[in-house]
């Protein structure tokens, strides 16, 4: 299969770069954005299959970004990156079209499983 395109949106650069590299080692085609504006720009140009979205990014609210992405292309699947105590945001996100969520610190194998599931869903909804 073609490499699954993944957009990683997280303002922690250290985290994003390390995770991006790990995913790349696992044959994902990864790009990273540090804020909502960048993210939307890359969504337009890169057309990812799956977006890994940290809900606490600066600029536009995480949920707003989610909505914007889904509006742009509803087939793009979004997986939320959350921390302790984000329960409400997660619920909110799921209501607004998020596919899944995963807690930080991230278990890489769990993440890849979720990304693949998302990709599969995307194939189906085509």
């Amino acid at each position: 299969m073609a490499h699954t395109k993944v957009l990683l949106v997280d303002d922690e650069k250290e985290f994003a770069s390390a995770l991006a590299e790990r995913l790349q080692l696992r044959n994902y085609d990864v790009q990273a954005a540090a804020n909502a504006l960048e993210a939307l720009g890359i969504v337009h140009s890169f057309r990812p299959d799956v977006v890994l979205l940290d809900l606490r990014i600066p600029g536009m609210d995480g949920i707003e970004t989610l909505k914007a992405i889904k509006k742009f292309d509803s087939t793009i699947e979004v997986i939320m990156l959350t921390g302790h105590g984000d329960v409400q945001s997660v619920e909110n996100g799921m209501k607004n079209g998020a596919f899944e969520y995963i807690m930080k610190p991230v278990d890489i194998s769990e993440l890849t499983v979720k990304i693949n599931k998302a990709w599969q869903k995307k194939q189906v909804s085509r």
Partner: protein
């Protein structure tokens, strides 16, 4: 003006508030408030009451006295006029008699006697008649004495009669030891250019009739004295006729004079003196029965009991009221404190939740970073093994992890600080009290070692929110150390002071052996001890240091060898963020 209003408001507030100031007999705040209220109320009711009673008393007394005085004056006036009338009547009668007959007729003893008898018939009480010529020789006489031919020319009364044309004499002891007085009148027959005198002696008894009224009060004494104070009529209490009546009153010439003479207890004497005109006499009235003298006893007895009764009743009611009201205040204060405590606690709890949540939230990212970087290292190792490039990369990843580790540390450090603050119980502590309690524990030891203890506890030291038990542990530790340094003799001084707006300090100074400079930096280290092996664990100061730090303060030490050491413990009034 504003300042005054403020002061008054402040004073009122302080008096009627369950404060720690204005404590009474060391009773609790609320008991003191109750006592204050009752006292003020009682005072406010007693003072006007007493003012009213006092004013009423004196006012009453004055009115009655004035009234009585007026009455007395009137009575005296009355009696005086009666006597004057009597005397004048006699004088007129004598004058008439004298002018009705010629000198020749009157000089005839037989004739005189006949006239005398007629006169006597009309005007009882007469003793004798005498006619005296212008040279002062008695020409004729009708009476019991043998006075014919007596020469009166040298006598005062003779001259008086010539001047005034009549004369009334003082009372004198006469015939048969009966008191008499004499009236003499001068007659100047017209055209003759000469004169003669008719003299009559009268019984004092006739005078007495007018002096002692029938309805005289039993304790009153009315009598006549002359200008020298010699009694002219007998008195009830002041002596018989011709005895001296002593008084320090000035005997008046003309008017009526009254004076309160003396007051022994209920006995009040008023003396009234009235000059009786045309006579050398003064009417004296000594009153003992003064109705207004009873007033004090009325006031003292009946009024006293009524007053006391009302005051007592007032106190009882005020106390009951004060009790009820202040108890209500106390209850509502307690409930408010409870509610405040509850809400404070609730907010403390809320802040704990928030803090924990916040920390957990924050730690996510650095943890995630460490995770990813470590995972990446694993990936790299598994995939590509060790190549020269990877070494660089690894070291970069490792330093990245180290950075995140530091972040984690900072975050958890906050949590630690918070937990420390929670482990201390917080209460408003009076440091002076705390110090004195600690001294109490060590008193015996200090005395036994003959060490002089000096306490300089600052008055009005602000209270601080801290853990009393732990602070006292620190003092105990430091003072014990000082005791050890002193062995025997020497002194320890403890001073409490306000350091600044936000903190206070306690300085413990001794004049012991001191700490050498090189050791000073180590004394707060655990297990550092200069005591002989087996003595002292070396833990005291380090634990103390930890406690003080936990409480948000610092310990400072200054020392000079053989001069002494000063430990200063400075603590904040309130812990930040607690």
């Amino acid at each position: 003006m504003k300042h005054l209003k403020q002061t008054i408001r402040l004073l009122v507030h302080n008096v009627f508030h369950p404060h720690d100031i204005f404590r009474i007999f060391g009773k609790g705040r609320y008991a003191s408030l109750k006592i204050r209220i009752v006292l003020i109320d009682v005072l406010l009711s007693i003072v006007p009451l007493f003012i009213v009673i006092t004013i009423s008393y004196f006012w009453f007394q004055k009115i009655l006295k004035d009234d009585f005085d007026k009455q007395l004056q009137w009575e005296i006036q009355n009696t005086k006029q009666t006597i004057e009338f009597f005397v004048d009547k006699k004088i007129s009668a004598l004058k008439l008699t004298a002018s009705s007959y010629t000198y020749e007729q009157m000089s005839d003893t037989k004739m005189l006697t006949e006239i005398f008898n007629n006169f006597k018939r009309e005007y009882g009480g007469l003793v004798d008649f005498g006619v005296i010529d212008s040279t002062g020789i008695q020409r004729s006489y009708s009476g019991p004495y043998n006075l014919a031919g007596k020469d009166y020319s040298e006598q005062d009364w003779f001259h008086e009669v010539i001047i005034r044309s009549f004369y009334v004499s003082d009372v004198f002891m006469g015939y048969r030891k009966i008191p008499h007085f004499a009236i003499a009148v001068k007659t100047e027959p017209t055209g003759k250019g000469t004169f003669w005198i008719l003299r009559a002696t009268i019984n004092v008894e006739t005078l007495q009739k007018y002096v002692n009224p029938v309805n005289q009060r039993p304790n009153d004494d009315i009598f006549i004295i002359n200008r020298e104070g010699i009694l002219q009529t007998p008195s009830k209490f002041h002596g018989g006729v011709l005895e001296k009546y002593t008084t320090n009153m000035t005997i008046p010439r003309e008017e009526v004079v009254t004076q309160e003479l003396q007051k022994n207890g209920d006995d009040c004497k008023i003396c009234g003196l009235a000059a009786i005109q045309h006579t050398p006499w003064v009417l004296a009235t000594v009153i003992r029965s003064t109705p207004y003298a009873r007033i004090p006893s009325i006031f003292r007895n009946e009024l006293f009991f009524i007053t006391m009764g009302s005051i007592l009743l007032g106190i009882v009611f005020t106390t009951v009221m004060a009790n009820t009201v202040v108890n209500r205040i106390k209850l509502s204060d307690e409930e408010r404190e409870k509610a405040v405590g509850q809400s404070e606690h609730a907010s403390k709890m809320a802040s704990i939740g928030r803090l924990a949540a916040g920390v957990a939230h924050e730690i996510n990212n650095p943890l995630a970073i460490i995770n990813e970087k470590a995972g990446l290292m694993k990936d790299i190792l598994e995939v590509s093994g060790s190549t020269p490039d990877n070494k660089e990369k690894f070291l970069a990843l490792i330093s990245g992890i180290a950075e995140s580790v530091n972040r984690c540390r900072t975050i958890t450090h906050r949590l630690l600080g918070f937990s420390r603050r929670m482990e201390i119980s917080q209460d408003a502590i009076d440091m002076n009290d705390a110090v004195q309690e600690v001294i109490g524990f060590l008193e015996k030891e200090i005395l036994y070692r003959n060490i002089k203890l000096e306490l300089n506890l600052q008055e009005n030291l602000p209270k601080i929110m801290t853990d009393k038990g732990q602070v006292q542990q620190v003092f105990l530790n430091i003072i014990n150390n000082a005791l050890d340094a002193l062995k025997e003799n020497g002194y320890i001084s403890v001073t409490t002071y306000t350091k600044d707006d936000t903190s206070i300090g306690v300085a413990i100074k001794d004049n012991g052996s001191g700490i050498p400079k090189e050791n000073l930096k180590h004394i707060f280290e655990p297990f550092y001890s200069t005591k002989e092996k087996g003595k002292g664990t070396g833990l005291g100061l380090s634990i103390s240091y930890g406690i003080v730090q936990k409480l948000g303060g610092t310990i400072l030490v200054e020392s000079e060898l053989n001069k002494g050491t000063t430990f200063s413990v400075e603590l904040p009034l309130k812990l930040e963020g607690a």
